[in-house]
């Protein structure tokens, strides 16, 4: 991304930045000697997992650390030393020369102020400006960030805008005074992929037009690939690697970067059969318990122990003029003499595992799960008598079938009804009509006793592992509970609990722990063990890895694949992340506003999507490859998902579809087979090339 200001002069420089925060057990060093350099008009991606210190870095640059924080090191903005500046100076700098966009777009806006007034305020706190000029400026900013109809939008309140719109308003506020540096702290993390693509596009355009330097703070390497010129990778409060985006993605110099990159799944290339994602063992350290020496050494396949990796903190070595790697073996890795991903991690799984995991098709045996015409409607209540004033069809007639041992992924954006579908199938919410059969037993008409028996055969794993475990129960009690409820508690039961814990990759030492004593990945493993306790045949996985750190995800996904192969489980996997489905599932169903628009084998649907929505969805997912990401054609969807209170007639996607015609408005498209079980519900199906760019 070369902006107009191609001259490489640093606008923001961070040198030796360290931050110590008081903790319950003594001071905690959350940042340790961070060096960064951001050139004018360029983008620096700052990548790290939760707790790596990336947000603290951003806040330290802004001078927004809590008063109890002790900061050392230098922060220089265009020749002005910010680390010695007093609060008055900083107030003049913030919002005028450096501005920040936060993750939560609803929390960042004042709910009782019109958005136009909020943008105006961002301007008027820094300079005097006439009322007419101010109004024009606000409208100009709103259209700059791609908000249609800015005159009307300026008079609206934040809750009247969609999440994507609100994030654009935040960006408009941030760039209101043409800052030299824009810090985007996980600015697109809470957004759906299609909306994320829109917002990233806005950032790109802003940078081209105003030559703003962007510090892009994120955990998502895919986002970085498309937008950043340089990338800095953080781990446990230190920069472990820094370099130009292409070189770093092509040849990572730090084993951590290499592992993060290898753990990513690319949608533009099908997953080679039989390969497994690389799982980094363990989880990122807590900042009050950073291992001595290189903080990554307990998880590192290359660590030389005890010397030097376990003892000495690696200095940032300047490998090539443009790259720094803080690894004792970084030089060897960069020169190609050492492979950062050892052979056993990249080896394909045993042939037997592969055949069961990927070879079970819908043909084998009667279906495990059959869903027909499922409709789930939520009443919307209003007024003082709480009467029903509207209805939301969260699931609006869904048909699905799942063979024993098969994995079906359900993808879609927030509000498409995929989670309601998952809960309806298990009758955790009461569906309105249609039928769900598990092994031929009707779930929706089941009596209490039948339902209880069904609960043994079909289990669910939730998104947030911490919330899904009772904080007052030990791991042993949590895993044992299903056995007790179903009166399966006998002399062998304690051994069964130990077996289950072993099966999910934990050991007996975890049994007496409470959920809060475990890491996110371990918590999710406990939740999986609980789901397996009664020996189910069907697991509903509702966003099973979304809440986990990227370096932990691959391990949990591998576990799920192994369990499926060993136990012959059927999975109904709900995910917004297409890569998770591509990696784990045989087939996929794409949902939009309560309906399945396309379904078929994973490889086929993702490589040659036939429905315009699937095409947009696939194209919006960032590809973790800078060269591809910069050049590839993107289908940006216009506008937002319509309100489910008042869905469009006919095809629900037609309001945002470029192929829509009159027929789409009147006739609901019926799923038709395009060959090989690839069903598309569209009046004008066809591959992407068939329509204009």
């Amino acid at each position: 991304m070369n902006g107009p200001a191609a001259a490489a002069s640093p606008v923001l420089r961070v040198e030796g930045l360290s931050v110590v925060l008081p903790g319950p057990h003594g001071p905690v060093r959350v940042l340790d000697g961070v060096d960064l350099r951001l050139d004018a008009g360029r983008t620096l991606g700052l990548v790290g997992e939760s707790g790596s210190g990336k947000t603290t870095t951003a806040l330290a640059v802004m001078g927004l650390l809590p008063p109890s924080a002790r900061r050392t090191g230098a922060v220089t903005l265009g020749g002005v030393a910010l680390h010695t500046a007093d609060e008055r100076t900083m107030t003049g700098v913030r919002g005028r020369r450096i501005a920040m966009v936060f993750q939560g777009s609803l929390g960042a806006l004042n709910p009782v102020m019109r958005v136009g007034d909020q943008i105006a305020e961002a301007i008027t706190v820094h300079r005097r400006i006439g009322a007419a000029e101010l109004r024009d400026r606000v409208h100009e900013l709103l259209s700059d960030v791609g908000i249609p109809d800015p005159w009307r939008r300026a008079d609206q309140y934040p809750h009247e805008l969609s999440g994507g719109m609100r994030q654009r308003v935040s960006i408009a506020m941030a760039v209101a005074n043409d800052p030299e540096v824009l810090i985007a702290d996980e600015a697109t993390t809470a957004l759906d992929v299609t909306v994320q693509a829109q917002v990233l596009d806005v950032l790109r355009r802003i940078q081209e037009r105003r030559a703003t330097a962007i510090l892009l703070v994120t955990h998502d390497l895919g986002v970085v690939a498309g937008l950043a010129d340089r990338v800095a990778v953080m781990y446990a409060g230190r920069i472990v690697e820094e370099g130009p985006v292409d070189a770093l993605f092509a040849r990572p110099g730090h084993p951590y970067t290499a592992a993060l990159l290898a753990a990513l799944v690319r949608l533009d290339r099908p997953v080679p059969p039989g390969t497994r994602p690389v799982a980094i063992p363990g989880s990122p350290p807590r900042l009050d318990e950073v291992p001595p020496g290189c903080a990554f050494h307990p998880r590192c396949p290359l660590a030389l122990l005890p010397e030097p990796c376990g003892r000495a903190v690696p200095e940032a070595q300047v490998a090539t003029p443009a790259r720094r790697v803080a690894c004792h073996r970084g030089a060897e890795v960069l020169s190609g003499r050492l492979d950062p991903l050892p052979v056993e991690q990249r080896a394909p799984v045993a042939a037997t595992v592969v055949s069961t995991a990927r070879g079970v098709g819908p043909a084998s045996g009667p279906p495990l799960l059959e869903v027909e015409g499922l409709v789930t409607v939520f009443p919307v209540r209003g007024g003082w008598r709480r009467r029903v004033v509207g209805r939301v069809e969260a699931v609006a007639g869904v048909d699905l079938a799942l063979a024993p041992g098969e994995a079906l992924g359900v993808v879609g954006e927030s509000g498409c009804g995929k989670t309601t579908l998952a809960r309806s199938v298990l009758r955790l919410v009461e569906p309105t009509s249609g039928s769900v059969r598990i092994h031929g037993v009707d779930v929706l008409r089941a009596e209490r006793a039948t339902l209880r028996r069904l609960r043994r055969r079909a289990q669910i794993v939730f998104q947030d592992p911490e919330a899904s475990l009772d904080p007052r129960m030990t791991v042993a009690a949590i895993v044992a509970e299903p056995l007790r409820i179903h009166r399966l508690w006998d002399a062998d039961a304690p051994q069964r609990v130990r077996d289950l814990i072993g099966m999910v990759g934990l050991d007996a030492g975890h049994l007496d722990r409470y959920p809060h004593e475990l890491s996110g990945g371990q918590q999710q493993r406990v939740a999986i063990a609980r789901a397996l306790a009664t020996g189910p045949e069907l697991l509903v996985l509702d966003e099973p890895v979304t809440a986990l750190d990227p370096s932990v995800r691959a391990g949990v996904l591998n576990l799920l694949a192994d369990l499926r192969a060993e136990l012959g489980l059927g999975y109904l996997l709900i995910a917004h992340d297409l890569a998770v489905v591509a990696r784990t599932c045989d087939r996929v169903a794409v949902m939009y506003l309560g309906r399945v628009v396309e379904t078929g084998p994973v490889a086929e649907v993702f490589s040659t999507p036939q429905h315009p929505y699937t095409q947009a969805l696939c194209s919006a997912v960032p590809v973790p490859d800078p060269a591809v990401e910069r050049t590839r054609r993107r289908i940006l969807l216009e506008g937002d998902v319509p309100s489910p209170l008042d869905p469009p007639s006919g095809c629900r996607f037609r309001t945002r579809c470029r192929r829509a015609d009159e027929r789409c408005a009147t006739e609901v498209p019926v799923p038709t087979d395009r060959g090989g079980g690839h069903l598309v519900a569209c009046h004008h199906p066809g591959p992407e090339a068939g329509w204009g760019s």
Partner: protein
């Protein structure tokens, strides 16, 4: 920023949860001290007939009010009655009313709140309207009528006070259960096939113990004070029986006189009790929450 990533670094406490809870309580010095104070106080009051140096109602009109001295450690009142003896005897009534009201109102309030919060909809609406009704009742008037009709026994006082206190616990528990109910671990329990009763008893109630215990401690304190208000208005325990509240009320007139010492005995007794109950409640709350690390 630094939560939820403790991998295997914390040494695993291996004792069963019950013993771990006990160990956690014992490590909380203030709570242990408070519990000891409370037990001693209760024991002393229970043993009042044997411990008290004088009969509580023996008057010595010739002696009159004397400040604390060697034979009357806390002095005597205007009728020459020994203050220490009276405090010990009064404590039997005050403590039992306080603890009984605390227990009863907490039990009723927790049950109502949990059922309302978990059942939702109509049941919730109905129970909460009843709760609101009790909240707006003119408490003192109700008390007066009830005590006139039913007699002025301590049991009636306990019932009436509990009837005036349970709503606060109910409201807090309901609010807590409403938010807990939406958590995924409750849904996970339902998915496993747990019944409503099991969810309330095994998953919801243990998670509201914290607020319940704190509220119970407040209720004990409030009941002791409320009983004194009642007695002051003439509806409480009747002479010759007495309570800390009554003694405090009787001594009120002496605030700025040489006989101000009459306030100290009952005042300190009430203060000690309320403080102790609060500290014990605080300790219990932490014990029931596994997230508070053992210190």
């Amino acid at each position: 920023m630094s939560t939820g990533h403790g991998a295997d670094r914390r040494p695993g406490p291996s004792a069963p949860p019950g013993r771990r809870a006990l160990r956690r309580f014992v490590r909380r010095r203030p709570a242990v001290v408070a519990l000891v104070v409370l037990v001693l106080l209760a024991a002393a009051c229970a043993a009042a007939p044997w411990l008290a140096p004088y009969p509580p109602n023996r008057q010595d009109l010739l002696l009159g009010p004397v400040p604390p001295n060697r034979s009357h450690w806390l002095g005597t009142d205007e009728l020459g009655r020994d203050q220490l003896s009276r405090i010990l005897h009064a404590g039997r009534i005050s403590l039992s009313i306080g603890l009984a009201v605390g227990a009863l109102s907490t039990a009723v309030g927790t049950a109502v709140g949990a059922v309302a919060g978990y059942a939702g909809r109509r049941v919730d609406q109905a129970l909460m309207r009843v709760t609101d009704l009790f909240l707006v009742l003119p408490g003192i008037a109700i008390l007066a009528i009830a005590l006139e009709r039913l007699g002025r026994s301590p049991a009636v006082i306990v019932l009436v006070l509990a009837g005036l206190f349970w709503m606060y616990v109910a409201r807090v528990v309901r609010a807590e259960v409403l938010s807990l109910r939406e958590r995924e671990f409750v849904e996970a329990a339902r998915a496993v096939g747990a019944s409503g009763t099991r969810i309330v008893v095994r998953h919801l109630l243990p998670n509201v113990v914290g607020v319940v215990v704190v509220n119970a401690a407040l209720a004990v304190a409030a009941a002791i004070i409320a009983e004194s208000t009642l007695s002051f208005l003439g509806f409480g325990v009747q002479p010759p029986a007495t309570s800390w509240g009554v003694m405090l009320a009787d001594a009120e007139g002496y605030v700025a006189t040489p006989q101000a010492y009459l306030l100290y005995g009952p005042g300190v007794a009430i203060l000690l009790t309320v403080l102790s109950v609060n500290f014990v409640g605080d300790g219990l709350r932490e014990v029931f929450d596994p997230r508070t690390a053992p210190r």
